[in-house]
Subunit: 165 residues, 2 copies
DNA sequence: CACAATTAAGTTGTGCACAACTAAATGGCG
DNA sequence: CGCCATTTAGTTGTGCACAACTTAATTGTG
């Protein structure tokens, strides 16, 4: 369908806005889940889910982190991470132990098995990248757009329905 | 961090691939969830979750559909849709009834209340678009990239770990 | 018509995301 | 020191995504 053009400050009919919105949120949602599906297949060998893989990536890079820091890297809170880390620990890939210096903090680090898994994970990015059909430059470009989008969305001051300005 | 360049067919160190991959999957995941957060706030007024809103968008556009068709529009199966539709029905927004012509099929259509909700939903896209900080052209462009990505990911023949080509 | 294969919806179980809450430890401040 | 606000994990409850399965209706084929 050819995209209609609304030059300048011209407003779009409400029905079209709803259709446009549909396109955008559908496509983002669909892309995200399509990605998830590909990761699921690729990560099956490693016995990891996609979010677990993300956690392991951070741990491979940083070695050991408190749950809090892990959550900052991943934008996840303890409500998501606690059970996930428990499963990773049950799988023998990480160890969790209370920090002696600050008993509130729990430090997470990969076990030997967890570190060893990295060897088998190095091929994952290549396979994923291949599945996208995008070249490196396109992926980098898309990444930067998505990061810009995320920053904007996080910082967005949502206008009220019927405002107190 | 300045992006390193690897011209031609030159291979990238495995560690860098893992880092790059982190960037891409992190950014997609983060963008998707950031979007979800904004929708959550905006849709709170309407009493809808984000996936419920997507369902209502399809129903507003098509009026009445069997669960199967709904799933094709949304790339969702009955395992996701059945409970979601049950909640929408409990909220009085849709009705579900077995098709007389084909007793396997359940047709879903918005109730009067469901149709009426559309009036209050028309402002949603504008608020979301505003929160992204992107203009219409940028959003359209991003959408087309994401659709291309989804198509590629869906059709991807994932190379085996150690393949029988 | 009988019967196997297919199709549609729903159910069950696992895992993730997130809000709201609890519990315990820490850090200030009077 | 005593006490309270803050910080860090964890828990609980709801909802979504998806795989695997069940049930029932339909279709195709001999």
């Amino acid at each position: 369908m050819a995209p209609k053009r609304y030059p300048g400050g011209m407003t779009m009919p409400a029905a079209d806005w709803l259709r446009l919105d549909q396109q955008i949120c559908f496509s983002l949602n669909a892309a995200s889940r399509a990605f998830g599906g590909v990761y699921r297949v690729v990560l099956k060998d490693l016995g990891l889910t996609y979010p677990q893989y993300l956690v392991m990536l951070v741990l491979w890079e940083h070695g050991e982190l408190p749950v809090k820091k892990l959550g900052e890297h991943l934008r996840l809170d303890s409500g998501t991470l606690s059970p996930l880390l428990k499963r990773l620990e049950a799988a023998g890939l990480v160890r969790r132990e209370r920090s002696a210096r600050d008993e509130r903090s729990v430090r997470v680090r990969p076990t030997g098995e967890g570190v060893a898994l990295r060897e088998r994970a190095v091929e994952v990015p290549r396979r994923i990248a291949a599945a996208t059909g995008f070249d490196l430059a396109e992926l980098q470009d898309l990444r930067s757009r998505l990061e810009r989008l995320t920053t904007a969305l996080d910082g967005a001051e949502l206008p009220e329905t019927a405002g107190r300005g």
